[in-house]
Amino acid sequence: MSKKVIINPVTRISGFLEIEVEIKNGRIVDANSSGMLFRGFEKMLRGRPPLDAIYFTERICGICSTAHSMGSTLALEEAFNVVPDENNKMIRDFMHGCEFIQNHLRHTYQYTMPDYVKGPDINPVYSVEHNDFRLPEAINKRIASNYLTSFKYSRMAHEMLAELGGKVPHTHGIFVGGTTVNMDISKYLKVKYLLAQIRDFVENAMLEDIYTIAHYYPECFNYGKGYGNLMSYGCFDIYLQPQRFYVSPKVMIDGKIKEFDPQRVTENIEYAWYKSDLESLKPLDEEPEADRFKKDAYSWIKAPRYKELPMEVGPLARLWLSGNYNRGISTMDRTIARVLETKKIIEIMTSLLEGIRLEPANQDQYVVPKEAKGKGLIDTTRGSLGHWLSIDEQEIFHYTIITPTAWNLSPKDSMGNRGTIEQALIATKIEDINNPLEIGRTVRSFDPCVSCATHVIGEYNTLKIRIV
């Protein structure tokens, strides 16, 4: 006896996602994930002024817009042959850190906690859809109260970012050459003060809250592992001071940690709704044509692969690859890693502030090269983000973006390998088939951002709806 369960919308993530699983003898035996939003940024970018890529690609995602400003700026700097000075790099990394904090606070409290904690009694958080709330009343009350308090601290993280970047979402201050902000004592003190307050909440409330959840939901350590292959493009990795250093580009395959080689990144389209003479595409290859009737395909998200393998990216991958965590790989480990990483990033940012000098921005009148190529590979909140662009006649020609969520939420490939989240769902024991909470808990442990993953678009005429 097998049963199919479909969840759509998977709420408390960014964007629109459908998860379909097949459950047999109480366990998940197959899983498909489908992104449900398409906009087509890569096609929009062709012909635009290259410098506009920063503010333009930010708008792929309202949650991780700073990530895209980092990726696009790094790609442009390679293409323009511009190297920012160390002070500019530190300010820019500090700004990127603000987004890590804001995203992790928000995802942990607003998006993850309602899976485990009965929310404060205000709509739309309060829910009686299921009864697997195990916390004693007083503890539940404490965490539900922190759910509300956390809004303040994630807001403060954005306040720091706006102090240096002008506004957020879609900040302005990150640009070719580093930043545009003229660092002064007022800005410096303000972000230092805000960071200290956030640090207090993270170290004294958030850490305890997540370990409490882990204590009452111990079975979440036993599922959601997936392949266990991890990857990071590196971030906060240009500093010699150990307290500023986080993780350099690395991969772990079959338990062995190795250097990351950017030449080995490809996208497989076997089970995605695209057709091409190539089964496997490299960044800056011509976009494949869409084919919605392609046999057996089931997703608009392409399948990024490293050495033909699906990889997990994100906070747990980074902590593991940098030697900061080794308890295990599971739904709960991933959820805890996000909180531990928040603490780690705050420590790095605190150290960056000790190095940042009060100096004006180091901007220039940039001349767009006639022809050039560039890539910007960096680990961002959700994992490894890559921007690749080519410039022709001073305009953008090709632009390829491979997002962290595409790595985690990819479909199967021509080798038959499932995507990372699909594999993480396999073999999970479902306690109550009418309320398969384990699915949402595992999916959310990856903090998927479907707005990012499905930015690529193709042409198709009709759509055949799968009836299950």
């Binding site: 759509n8 709420t11 929310g119 901007q363």
Partner: protein, 270 residues
């Protein structure tokens, strides 16, 4: 229990709100979470009964979509963020699956838009198509007004400022529809251009211009769209700071304006 009863009664008295995300980036709901004085907690506790928003709601799957359906029979406010993708009958933006049928953003917007007491188009994508409709507009995005074929309250901005939407909803609750301009924007927020109130206006008047980002003078010659962009950013600033894009020595890119982004590029002109 008394508290719970009070809360429940409050929820009944407050006007229900559906915050529907369609073809966009979810940046406006994130911007709402950045609100301060009042903040989102006050907004949810005291001002509205938010029955449906996919980013925040605890429920998922069909149970989540049922909360959307159950709101339609009441008197409610509808906020739509995101443009409406109409390509292939809306299947580029599916927001739910209900009883084995895919529900598109196009269908949900129409269903709720016909019944809502007030409809707010939040952000530039909902107001004008925005970046979702940027050329060559691969998903055939249109504005909410075009889709519903009626005039909604427009709160453009990429993203919209939280004060604009909380202020507008506060006005709807206490005083009815605020005074709107010919496009449907509340005059209190969009009455004058960025340029009119710009902190660098004196440089412009003296014809002193910045030659690159990072400088303190007027950025008109770098492509600043302040002169043609209506919004009160110079007054209210962003994210609880005294800062805004001009404050970090970058030009206004006209993100609240019809025609953004295609008509506003290049964002930075050298």
């Amino acid at each position: 229990m008394v508290n719970l009863a009070l809360e429940t009664r409050n929820n009944k008295e407050k006007i229900p709100l559906i915050w529907l995300e369609t073809c966009g980036c979810s940046g406006n709901i994130i911007s709402l979470m950045d609100a301060d004085d009042p903040d989102i907690v006050y907004f949810l506790r005291e001002m509205v009964d938010l029955t449906y928003n996919n980013s925040l709601m605890a429920a998922e799957g069909e149970a989540a979509y049922e909360k959307f359906l159950n709101t339609l029979d009441k008197e409610f406010i509808l906020v739509i963020e995101g443009a409406i993708s109409i390509k292939d009958e809306g299947l580029y933006n599916v927001i739910a699956r209900y009883k084995d049928r895919l529900i598109t953003g196009m269908e949900a917007a129409l269903k709720a838009g016909e019944k809502a007491k007030y409809v707010i188009s939040m952000g530039t994508c909902a107001s004008y198509g925005g970046i979702s409709a940027a050329a060559p507009n691969p998903s055939q995005c249109i504005s909410v007004n075009e889709h519903l074929n009626k005039k909604t309250i427009l709160l453009p901005g990429c993203p919209g400022h939280p004060d604009w939407v909380i202020g507008t909803i506060g006005h709807l609750i206490a005083f009815g529809i605020p005074e709107l301009d010919e496009e449907g924007r509340p005059i209190i927020f969009y009455g004058i251009t960025i340029h009119d109130n710009c902190t660098r206006r004196s440089y412009f008047d003296e014809r002193v211009f910045a030659s690159k980002l990072g400088e303190k003078e007027c950025m008109f010659r770098l492509g600043c769209r302040g002169p043609i962009t209506k919004a009160d950013c110079p007054i209210i600033r962003w994210n609880d700071t005294d800062n805004w894009p001009i404050g970090v020595n970058t030009p206004c890119i006209g993100c609240t304006q019809r025609g953004f982004p295609d008509g506003m590029e290049p964002f930075v002109r050298y």
